[in-house]
């Protein structure tokens, strides 16, 4: 469902992503972890068409993102690390626009918007301007718009940022349900315990290279170290936790 085929991204001399080959099949919840600057957001940029690979290819639902970006994005639900919401619109208007883009119309769309607003605890904010919402509430609007059209592929860049524990729990359940229903889910997170808990597969990206991939437990084993994913992460990221 999601595939990187020898994807490379360079900025001048700096290699942000080096020869990434990775396949995330349908029904998989894949957590991509790694220190800041490891290349996680670059990888997501290549998938969503925001960045062009220097070489290699990326696929969404079997569709080459570079060759047929519109068809590929029609299968995608995406939450960027800093979601953009039209400041003067309301959450309901935002969802109505996104729904219309994905060819949802009329009462069916309105009903679905109500469902997503309720699912992300947004009903009471549905008529407020986006610019007046808190960071966490805006993040929930961005999540609602990603789930609105039942995408085959979900790509979420740091989706837990700004969410309270209750909302985090709700999102975890939605992601698990989406994967169980056959979607391929790729998320990046710095919450390693969470990645260990919810991901069926994890990948560890360091300096643009995928150094390990497999179940969270097997990632630990493959690095030849002992301990939890968090401990391995600290080890690879420089030894000691940074403030």
């Amino acid at each position: 469902m999601i595939r990187f085929e020898r994807a490379v991204k360079r900025y001048g001399d700096k290699t942000a992503l080096a020869d990434l080959s990775l396949e995330i099949p349908a029904g998989t919840l894949f957590a991509l972890v790694g220190p800041n600057g490891a290349g996680k957001t670059t990888a997501i940029g290549l998938l969503t068409g925001l960045l062009a690979p220097t070489s290699g290819r990326t696929f969404l639902a079997g569709i080459d993102v570079a060759r047929d970006p519109v068809a590929a994005k029609a299968r995608l639900g995406f939450v960027p690390d800093r979601p953009y919401l039209w400041p003067k619109w309301t959450p309901r208007e935002t969802l109505r626009f996104v729904g219309a883009v994905f060819a949802r119309r009329g009462p069916e769309l309105e009903d679905r918007i109500d469902v997503e607003l309720a699912a992300f605890d947004l009903t009471e904010f549905s008529s407020q301007r986006n610019e007046t919402l808190s960071h966490g509430t805006r993040q929930r609007v961005a999540l609602a718009q990603a789930f609105l059209h039942d995408p085959d592929v979900l790509v979420l860049d740091e989706p837990m940022v700004g969410l309270d524990p209750l909302a985090q729990r709700g999102l975890t359940e939605r992601l698990a349900a989406a994967a169980a229903a056959g979607a391929a889910v790729l998320l990046t997170t710095h919450q390693l315990a969470l990645a260990e808990e919810i991901a069926t597969v994890a990948g560890l990206l360091v300096d643009g290279r995928l150094v390990a991939r497999g179940t969270p437990r097997s990632v630990v084993t493959k690095t030849g170290r002992t301990g939890t994913l968090s401990e391995i992460f600290f080890d690879l990221a420089g030894g000691t936790p940074r403030p």
Binding site: T48, L51, A52, P87, K88, F97, G99, A100, V101
Partner: protein, 550 residues
């Protein structure tokens, strides 16, 4: 985009006007009122000019009005073409490469060509707004003056739209090619510099052509006769000349003017649609590869001596913010041109007639303060808004907003006062009016130079726009229009306070005696109130008002 997007945008615009807080509504209404007033004044002025020229041309049988009008329109369309190109170039770099909205839309299943077309239309709307603001009243007045208003209207609209579309297409294409070689943020800075330099050169060139000759009736008659009797050369490949010819024919009731006008419009439309179609792949390539350049703060290695007090820290921080603003050099360039123009005017000031010298001394003082208003609108009014998200941090610091507002004011008021005093002083040296007039003029320049930046900093703090992408957007907001109205009023009051002759003229109109002291007192009280009240309101607002930043 799609129907839902348009409906949402329309509803959101209505919400800003009708459902914002009282302060926002007041600023929106004041801005709307100022806009309507501008349009009304322009129409009234044009109707008056039209009546006067009709009467004059009735006496000058050898002059062909069509020649005059076509030459006038050729100049206007050429200006629209150049301004449209420069405006589109600068705007397109922002809308096509630095827009967060475009990045969000790019992840949705829209064909990229359509997104580029959408951003191009947005660019055209933003870049042509000043031209349309000036041209729309002129078109209405011109259409109403002829015998066939509908024909005249369309004969004007079609070539104008054609010229705007051609300029937009050229500007957008240039922006795409420019960003191909220079990173977007630097490209925007360079384009703004280019625009400002172009405008400054145009202004100085216009001034060097000595348009004041037209104030001398004999010279004016000679110029008008020359322009109104010599036939025009064929338009060739010059779109501005074609537009002028088409519009002139239509305005004189010739339906044949519609054809070249429509041809120009269709050519412009074709060029405008062709640019996204031909260059969307280039845009996609550059958009995905464009990385914002890392700007290193000038002088960051040279820290200078350690600050001895918080006031000095705040002053240094303000000065650094002001000087490191990427668009400051470009905009200072065009303001420097205005400064030069004013100095060029000084040597043409009347030297013999005492009454004229007194009148011009008042006008020059008003002009100096108006320049301070323009400077303040760009550099003082947006100062609070430009904190952006840093406003959240500032609010959380144990820092009295009054101290910070005073630092913002001091950094901007010092150069503003210097400019006001230099311009007024230079005029006074040439004019040599009475001692009393000179003293009042210098006092007005000093007080106005200090008060106007305070008014702008204060009202900018009362109506902050932390989400605005740049200073110009803040300055052009409804609050910006409101503050410009206030500071222009203060400049006008200074003019009347300085000039005995102007007060005599005003007194004759009002049939009453108008001595100097009430005006001087009113100016001093207004300036003091305009400086202190908004700063106090801003300090209170910045301490207590909710902050919502995206």
């Amino acid at each position: 985009m799609n129907r839902v997007f348009r409906a949402n945008t329309l509803r959101a615009s209505g919400r800003v006007l009708l459902a914002g807080d009282a302060r926002g509504r007041l600023a929106a209404m004041a801005g709307l009122f100022a806009l309507l007033m501008f349009l009304g004044l322009e129409m009234a002025g044009l109707e008056g000019a039209l009546r006067a020229s009709r009467a004059a041309l009735g006496e000058l049988r050898e002059i062909r009005p069509a020649f005059l009008l076509e030459r006038l329109l050729a100049g206007a369309f050429a200006a629209a073409l150049i301004l449209g190109f420069l405006g589109s170039l600068t705007t397109a770099i922002g809308t096509l490469f630095l827009s967060e909205e475009l990045a969000a839309l790019s992840t949705l299943p829209f064909p990229h060509r359509r997104l580029v077309l959408r951003q191009a239309v947005l660019t055209l709307v933003l870049a042509s707004a000043p031209t349309l603001l000036l041209a729309a009243p002129a078109l209405l007045v011109a259409a109403g003056a002829g015998g066939r208003p509908i024909l005249a209207f369309f004969s004007g609209v079609l070539p104008l739209a054609g010229v705007i579309l051609l300029a937009g297409a050229a500007g957008i294409a240039a922006a795409l090619l420019f960003v191909r070689v220079v990173p977007p943020r630097r490209a925007r800075l360079l384009a703004a510099f280019l625009s400002a330099t172009g405008l400054a050169v145009a202004l100085l060139g216009f001034r060097a052509a000595r348009p004041e000759r037209l104030l001398d009736p004999l010279e004016a008659l000679s110029v008008v006769t020359r322009l109104g009797t010599a036939p025009l050369s064929p338009p060739g490949l010059n779109p501005a000349a074609w537009a002028a010819r088409a519009a002139t024919r239509g305005l004189f009731g010739d339906a044949g003017g519609l054809l070249p006008g429509a041809a120009l419009f269709l050519s412009g439309l074709a060029a405008f649609l062709l640019v996204p179609r031909a260059l969307w792949r280039l845009h996609l390539h550059v958009f995905r590869d464009a990385r914002p350049g890392v700007a290193r703060a000038a002088g960051e290695k040279h820290r200078g001596p350690e600050a001895r007090s918080l006031a000095i820290v705040l002053l240094r921080a303000e000065a650094a913010s002001l000087l490191r603003d990427a668009s400051t050099p470009a905009q200072l360039g065009s303001l420097a041109a205005v400064f030069l123009l004013d100095l060029m005017n000084v040597r043409l000031l009347p030297g013999a007639d005492a009454s004229a010298r007194d009148l011009v001394a008042g006008l020059q003082t008003g002009l100096s303060l108006f320049l301070v208003s323009a400077l303040s609108l760009r550099f003082a009014y947006p100062s609070v808004s430009l904190d952006g998200r840093a406003a959240l941090v500032l609010r959380a610091l144990p820092l009295d907003p009054r101290r910070q507002l005073l630092a913002r004011w001091a950094v901007r008021a010092l150069p503003a006062t210097g400019i006001a005093l230099a311009l007024t002083g230079a005029s006074l040296l040439v004019l040599r009016p009475t001692g009393a007039t000179s003293a009042v003029a210098l006092l007005a320049a000093l007080v106005g130079g200090l008060a106007i930046p305070a008014l702008h900093v204060g009202l900018g703090g009362v109506f902050p726009r932390y989400d605005a992408p740049n200073a110009v957007t803040v300055a052009l907001s409804t609050g910006g229009v409101l503050v410009l109205v206030f500071s222009t009023g203060l400049s006008l009051l200074a003019t009347v306070a300085v000039s005995d002759d102007l007060r005599l003229l005003l007194g004759a109109l009002l049939k009453m005696h108008l001595p100097a002291w009430p005006f001087i007192t009113a100016f001093l009280i207004s300036a003091t109130a305009a400086a202190i009240t908004p700063l106090a309101l801003a300090a209170s607002s910045l301490m207590t008002r909710d902050i919502a930043i995206g």
